[in-house]
Symmetry: C2
Subunit: 380 residues, 2 copies
């Protein structure tokens, strides 16, 4: 029998009711049904972005589509930008800014560590011409959560916009656009939002909107002014991914029922269980506690063929983990624990891992203690 637990950092497994919602019949995307539903969906997403007033626009495309929309709507060719790169997704910002003709300052921080706000502060003082800073909230290629609030504060007197890839964080850990003063935040449907891939979102501060109106990059599909204009009548300029919206309506119900505070606590627990389990196996974690992502955990076993073990865990034990990307390929495997994941799912995942490393019960025991035992003396 084939049954596979998907424990990669997206797409995530979808709740049954979300899958069923994905199978709703097609409707007219310009009819009164959908044009009434779209603004409601966007308003329900607003708390996840931590914003009351900012404009939120949907794009039919992968998370990278929303990232590109951020670049081409904010950066004119020749503009100076600062890009923080400490993994594959920081590198994606870099590649994009390069492709679209920005003058680039890059801070390369080690893969597996977080970006240093002090460096950002220094760069901005030395290069006051920097117009925008591109950062990754959760660098899922390394499993590091950057401190976006501190990075945003590091701008101090600078007018630079801060543009955040929150694809693998939003909905799993706090994003506070208003409180932290973020200018552009992008995310996608297939991570903590628990919907199928193919739908992404971009949220813009009023400062960002002013820049967008003056940006000279060439664009059409990603021209946010078109989206903003069409949204006035509850429409998108181009046929939207209706099924993913239907699914999202259902997953938003689950999110609202659990509540953001509890969701964030759950993700912290999943992270702590995963890390306790791996530590109990004496296998190194790539990332220090202070930077550890609530949605992904990177494991860096030494002296073994990491990919071979990962594929054995998939093919023989039934848990699909992710491999390393870029410079971490073959050096780590990654456990995705975002969205529709419970503590029991982490135990299953750790069980498969401890079997592969020939240490039956050890990771599971440690994770159970993290979950339900306050101390060595008894169950919580």
């Amino acid at each position: 029998m084939k049954k596979l637990d998907l424990r990669i950092p997206g797409p995530v497994p979808l709740p049954e009711q979300v899958l069923r919602a994905n199978a709703q019949p097609m409707i007219n995307h310009r009819g009164k049904d959908f044009t009434a539903r779209l603004p409601v969906i966007l308003n329900r997403l607003r708390p996840l972005f931590g914003t009351k007033e900012n404009i939120l626009l949907p794009l039919t495309g992968s998370g990278t589509a929303a990232m590109e929309a951020a670049v081409v709507n904010v950066v004119s060719p020749g503009d100076s930008v600062l890009v923080l790169v400490g993994g594959s997704f920081g590198d994606r910002w870099l590649q994009m800014c390069h492709r679209f003709g920005a003058k680039i300052y890059a801070i390369h921080y080690p893969w597996g560590e977080a970006a240093d706000p002090n460096l950002v502060s220094e760069y901005l003082k030395q290069h006051p011409e920097i117009k925008a800073i591109f950062v990754t909230h959760n660098e899922s290629s390394t499993a590091v959560l950057n401190d976006i609030q501190a990075l945003a504060e590091a701008r101090s007197d600078s007018d630079a916009l801060i543009i955040v890839d929150a694809v693998s964080s939003l909905g799993g850990t706090p994003v506070e656009m208003d409180a932290w003063g973020l200018d552009v935040v992008v995310t996608a449907s297939q991570k903590c939002l628990m919907a199928p891939p193919g739908l992404s979102f971009i949220c813009l501060s009023s400062r960002a909107r002013e820049v967008v109106s003056k940006t000279e990059s060439l664009k059409y599909y990603f021209d946010l002014s078109l989206y903003e204009q069409m949204l006035e009548s509850g429409e998108t300029p181009f046929t939207p991914n209706l099924s993913a919206f239907f699914a999202l309506e259902e997953s938003l119900k689950l999110i609202e029922e659990e509540g953001l505070e509890q969701i964030f606590k759950r993700h912290i627990l999943l992270r702590d269980m995963a890390r306790a389990g791996i530590r109990a196996l004496d296998i190194p974690l790539l990332v220090k506690d202070e930077w550890a992502s609530p949605t992904t955990t990177s494991v860096a076993p030494l002296g073994v063929d990491v990919d071979k073990i990962r594929l054995m865990i998939r093919d023989e034990l039934g848990v699909e983990l992710a491999g390393g990307q870029g410079q971490l390929a073959g050096k780590i495997f990654r456990i995705g624990h975002m969205g529709y994941v419970t503590p029991l799912d982490i135990l299953t995942c750790l069980a498969a891992i401890e079997i592969a490393f020939k240490k039956p019960g050890q990771a599971v025991a440690a994770a159970e203690k993290t979950w339900r035992f306050k101390d060595e003396s008894g169950i919580v």
Copy 2:
């Protein structure tokens, strides 16, 4: 009870089994399951494009995303292009070519008529610098089917690439890339392919691929060289719309079971039934028989509030028709008859229309005769 027949030119109603396939659980888009399935899906689409060898690439996005991929991969800023505009979708090619810095020659032909191959021929003789011709196969805003074969032949000695928007035609009427010498053909999931929106395709001839490799437009999400490279391992550069692929696997089964020849015949019958019905009501059709689209029919009632009637047909009778776009707004309504549509569906649709125009039975009778009576004397 609310039950609405969706008779717009896309998104189209989906067969039950396709909707159910859309609800399949998520899988790893970089795992062995999907990387084995993706090339098979693309190969099964190849007959619909009428090509044996051309490379076919999937994009996560609306049909417009594939159109933009065509423009930015073929046109460098300053290149001369010829754009044929006779409706909203021809106009979309024009807007895009304009946005991305092409030098534009445009042939504006009347909305409701087909493009004249002789004009194309003359333009190419007078302007040998034209590198690409952008055409619309089925202009769904007017319900005109252009003769792509004749337009392609009109190039005679010119090296200009011919780039075809086949979004609302492919799978409902023949597209023969190889036989007609087409260079780029784009389409989308939510029309004759009977899948949800959010997935589009672009197919390139070897001549087009040579141009793509030299094109200097700025791009990242739409950089087809990335897609071609990743497809070697059965992957897409960015997380694909997995649900739409699952749905497409199921709709391709239906397409293969019916066979393309029969599908094309069915669409001709649906068109002829729709037109016979409207004619029987003494309401003008926008388009002459020779140009009439097999997938959409435009109806141009005189002396009435067209949109008011259309919305009454939706809200009181349960059939959703499309309105006019651009210069045809308020002047026509459109019947979509592509994909999962039977002759009975056309009868229902005509019944609603004839009720609205207070001519009970007349359109239905005419359409039934077109369907099942060879002549006045008896049933076929």
